[in-house]
């Protein structure tokens, strides 16, 4: 079974600085998808960024980028120019590319990001 590990329960960053959230995963599959979701306090979870394992290029979405290291099974999220609105719980998630496993996501435990002004 696949597992996702987020080793940082909490992180802090100064406004306008850069922060990196770590995620590692364990799988024997060669094709899969990886996601970062953001859950602001008392608000709905939203997708931040996703990565297809077969693509070597790291995904970017504005101030958010990932460092995908397939051999190391690592998928970190970098937030540049941090803003107060980035404060949230961030979840890393894995999804198999094979439908025999359904469409389910496997989540890490989450990292709380605090942004200091």
């Amino acid at each position: 079974a696949q597992t996702v590990t987020q080793s940082q329960p909490e992180m802090s960053v100064q406004e306008a600085e850069t922060v990196t959230l770590s995620c590692t995963y364990d799988t024997s599959e060669s094709d899969y998808y990886l996601f970062w979701y953001k859950q602001p306090p008392s608000r709905q979870m939203i997708l931040v960024i996703r990565q297809e394992a077969y693509k070597q290029q790291n995904a970017t979405e504005n101030r958010f980028s990932v460092n995908f290291q397939k051999a190391a099974k690592s998928f970190s999220l970098k937030i540049s120019d941090s803003q107060l609105g980035d404060a949230a719980m961030y979840f890393c998630a894995y999804r198999s590319a094979f439908t025999q496993y359904g469409n389910k996501l496997v989540f890490g435990a989450g990292t709380i990001l605090r942004v200091k002004s």
Binding site: A97, N103, F107
Partner: protein, 117 residues
């Protein structure tokens, strides 16, 4: 925009009560999911459904059942609520991928925080 709504934000029930959590999505998505979120454990899949009247167990189905009579609605049922079912419950939906699978995004509802006394 995709909208996923859940019938209650907060719910307080007594041990032994039958509890219904309702989820509705407005984007004609084939897939719907129920997760529970607990501190330090991330999100864990309870059940999911890939079509009307179709359901599959997730990682922690014990003590729960589901119903999907209409495409837009997916209900989670706690047959006899217990204190260890106190948690945040999140519903999600996504469109169906191709037969080879795809990284379709899951869209989440706001969550129902359930307290069982």
């Amino acid at each position: 925009d995709v909208k996923v709504t859940q019938s209650s934000r907060y719910l307080v029930k007594r041990t032994g009560e039958k509890v219904f959590l309702e989820c509705v999505q407005d984007m004609d998505h084939e897939n719907m999911f129920w997760y529970r979120q607990d501190p330090g454990l991330g999100l864990r899949l309870i059940y999911f459904s890939y079509d009307v009247k179709m359901k599959e167990k997730g990682d922690i189905p014990e003590g729960y059942s589901v119903s999907r009579e209409k495409k837009e609605r997916f209900s989670l049922i706690l047959e006899s609520a217990s204190t260890n079912q106190t948690s945040m419950y999140l519903c999600a939906s996504s469109r169906s991928g191709s037969t080879s699978g795809s990284g379709e995004t899951q869209y989440f509802g706001p969550g129902t925080r359930l307290l069982v006394l």
